[in-house]
């Protein structure tokens, strides 16, 4: 299968196979007017299988959110058809407005317009805890 190169935009490479749809939804890519290509289960020498997303516009992406969803992703910023910048993602220290605290006893369950915020407490086990009640994110 051949997917054309993009002139200006972003390529999210090395997405864990099967994770692209989730990232597509969380980044709200369905709302974009530009070309968006989602490639599932592409062959990868490193990963065996991987997903790729190509976005035909210079979108302002929250790399913390992306890093939380899939820290192995490589972000390629494309300008004039060439890779202008390449970023390796890592697990972010804080994730804001992505995960919801499920603890019914947490202040986030009743305080109006409070932003759900999680902090990385164990990078090895990828454990995030609510900054309010310290409940582990699930």
């Amino acid at each position: 299968m051949i997917i054309g190169q993009i002139k200006d935009g972003i390529v999210l490479d090395h997405i864990t196979a099967g994770n692209a749809m989730n990232i597509y939804d969380v980044l709200g890519l369905g709302k974009l007017d530009c070309t968006v290509a989602l490639i599932k289960n592409a062959d990868s020498s490193k990963m065996g299988k991987k997903d790729i997303i190509k976005i035909g516009t210079d979108l302002n992406i929250d790399f913390d959110v992306l890093g939380y969803l899939d820290p192995g992703i490589t972000v390629n910023i494309i300008k004039d058809g060439v890779v202008a910048e390449r970023k390796k993602l890592t697990l972010p220290e804080r994730v804001v407005g992505v995960i919801k605290c499920k603890n019914p006893r947490c202040i986030t369950s009743c305080e109006r317009e409070i932003r759900h915020e999680f902090m990385l407490t164990d990078p090895e086990k990828k454990i995030y805890r609510c900054i309010y009640c310290e409940q582990q994110a699930k």
Partner: protein, 305 residues
């Protein structure tokens, strides 16, 4: 210091310094009686807790300061639907320091984010209660004259008891501490705290199901209440209840200088007959709580005496 949410917000050095100030307050109360003159503490108690609120208020009055506040959410504007953030923005403009009790976990974190003044967590649900831990540490220090090289027994509901969780987190940072957890299988100390606080630091601990088998080795015995609602059925509760009640008989093999503690309120887990035992420290513990809170208020208001 802007906020105290959890006992681990304080370094060991800061805890030692606070406990030293508390002991100086006990020895020289007159030195501190005007230390917080013209300062105002707000006790914002969104759920009732008479003892903790009175302890904070007594602490502030004994420092020469004044107190405003409310003792349950019905008498605050939250009953009209005001957000916690808005309440704190308003109260923060009136007073110099806030002590807050709230039924929701993490509520003091919200308060601290919206206040330009110091905020003390006076208990948030079953989550944290750092000033109780300061009271506990001061009690151990005053009775044992040290916070290291101790064998600390904790008995009863170790699964849901926030006081024992915080005390383990605090004491685990001192040297030579051994923990003995005495609880039924249903109420054992949480695995994640054992892994995070003890096993990761190589701290010695053991888990047993009766206090008799470990009583002679304990320097401190911290009792907690075993509540019936924690059990799946009444038969299990009745079977285990008496196992976790401290009586004079069970204290016979204990050390002569054992420190018996309890965060109170006590229901029946320590027999009244134990009250006359000189090793019973649970009423002194509440008084120590007031002194620890005095030291904390001074620290947070940056008042040097």
């Amino acid at each position: 210091m802007k906020k105290l949410m959890n006992i681990t917000d304080l370094t060991v050095e800061e805890i030692d310094e606070l406990l030293a100030v508390a002991q100086d307050i006990i020895a020289n109360p007159e030195k501190y009686q005007d230390a917080c003159r013209h300062k105002l503490l707000a006790t914002l108690f969104f759920e009732p807790s008479t003892r903790t609120r009175l302890s904070f208020e007594s602490a502030m009055h004994r420092l020469g300061g004044s107190v405003v506040g409310f003792s349950d959410s019905n008498s605050s504007s939250s009953s009209k639907g005001e957000s916690l953030a808005d309440t704190i923005e308003v109260v923060g403009g009136y007073v110099d320091i806030i002590a807050m009790r709230h039924p929701k976990e993490g509520a003091p974190v919200v308060a601290a984010r919206h206040a330009d003044i110091p905020v003390i967590n006076a208990g948030d649900g079953s989550h944290n209660h750092p000033t109780q831990t300061l009271a506990d540490l001061l009690t151990i220090l005053r009775t044992k004259k040290r916070l290291n090289n101790l064998t600390i027994g904790m008995c009863g509901d170790l699964k849901f008891g926030r006081t024992v969780h915080s005390l383990v987190a605090a004491m685990a940072r001192y040297t030579g501490i051994k923990f003995v957890f005495i609880a039924p299988d249903e109420l054992k100390f949480p695995r994640y705290i054992i892994e995070g606080e003890l096993e990761s630091r190589g701290i010695e601990y053991k888990e047993v199901s009766t206090m008799e088998e470990v009583m002679p080795e304990l320097d401190v015995l911290y009792m907690t209440r075993v509540q019936q609602e924690r059990f799946f059925n009444e038969a299990d509760y009745l079977r285990l209840r008496d196992t976790y009640i401290l009586t004079p008989d069970k204290l016979v093999p204990a050390k002569e200088d054992l420190t018996i503690m309890h965060p109170l309120p006590r229901i029946n887990e320590i027999s009244v007959a134990v009250d006359d035992d000189p090793r019973a420290c649970y009423f002194a513990q509440t008084k120590n709580g007031m002194y620890a809170r005095m030291a904390l208020i001074l620290k947070m208001l940056e008042v040097n005496v």
